[in-house]
């Protein structure tokens, strides 16, 4: 039951964030600090969530770390979301075949 309440809290908060600006705010945000903060948030939060978690999601930490290096390189050279995800996945499967 508590899980459903958690899901409801998540859904309502997230929906409010997404829909309030679309319905209420018709002008761009002016505060430079707030604009900059909102601009940096996605990159910082995704980076914080990726490392070191990627090294504990796998059986071998080295395989997770290698997947991260592969992911960074592939994304740097312009591959999209799906190819990068698949190459990270393939790296882990290949390395764990030898390491585990």
């Amino acid at each position: 039951m508590k899980t459903y309440l958690y899901i409801a809290v998540m859904a309502l908060t997230t929906y409010a964030i997404r829909v309030l600006p679309l319905t209420l705010i018709r002008k761009p945000i002016r505060s430079t600090f707030l604009r900059s903060f909102l601009y940096y948030v996605p990159y910082v939060t995704l980076a914080v969530m990726t490392f070191p978690a990627i090294t504990t999601a796998t059986q071998s930490p080295a395989a997770g770390a290698a997947a991260m290096v592969v992911g960074i390189l592939c994304a740097w050279f312009g591959l999209g979301l799906l190819p990068v995800s698949l190459l990270c996945c393939g790296t882990v499967i290949l390395l764990e075949f030898f390491l585990v």
Partner: protein
Amino acid sequence: MSKTKFVSGFRDGIPIALGYLAVSFGLGISCRAASLTPFQGFLLSLLNNASAGEYGGITIMAADEGFLVMAAMMLVINARYLLMSCALSQHLSPNTPLGFRLLIGFDMTDELFGVAIAQPGYLNVWYFIGAMCAAIPGWSFGTLLGVLCGNLMPQWAVSGFSVMLFGMFLAIIIPEGRKNRVVLGFIGVSFLLSYAAAKLPLVCQLSDGMRILLLTVAISAAAAILFPHKEETAQA
């Protein structure tokens, strides 16, 4: 209703849905690890449509940290949707009915925002609705399959699929880092501080969710104070 716009949106939504299917499968495995049922995982994705947000939420559910922490976590992790929503509001015709605004806000994801903002002129809401109709099933059924099949899969495949979500995160942040050296620097700082926070005494006793929340606010605020972002148009 514009049928051609709907079809064109649906078509652009198909590659997004395929990407979602693969990535949300990994999310389903995380749901399973946090002992969510297949239906709960499906509902979570159907109602939230947010990879990083759902992942963060699962860590909070797993540690049972309370509804306030959960709401605070969603506000911070999903704060970028606030900016996207502001940006997209400028691309809607002023007389777009409220009902349409309420509807498209439901699926304001990085990818749908990306295709919507790339449309010339005012956004045709039927284009967005078409893309939603492809993307939402991909995301929610992918999660369902992940929770269901997580235990049927051998351990090597679980390991492989669980890094797909992280791969997607890297594919979102690295291209912006390549364009903007400040972002690149702060991605590096985030990796280092996140690693340090996971190892340091005291700090490492905080839950994963709490650490992500505190680090995100602190590092982003520092970046905003030290390097105010000047660009006029919002970034996806």
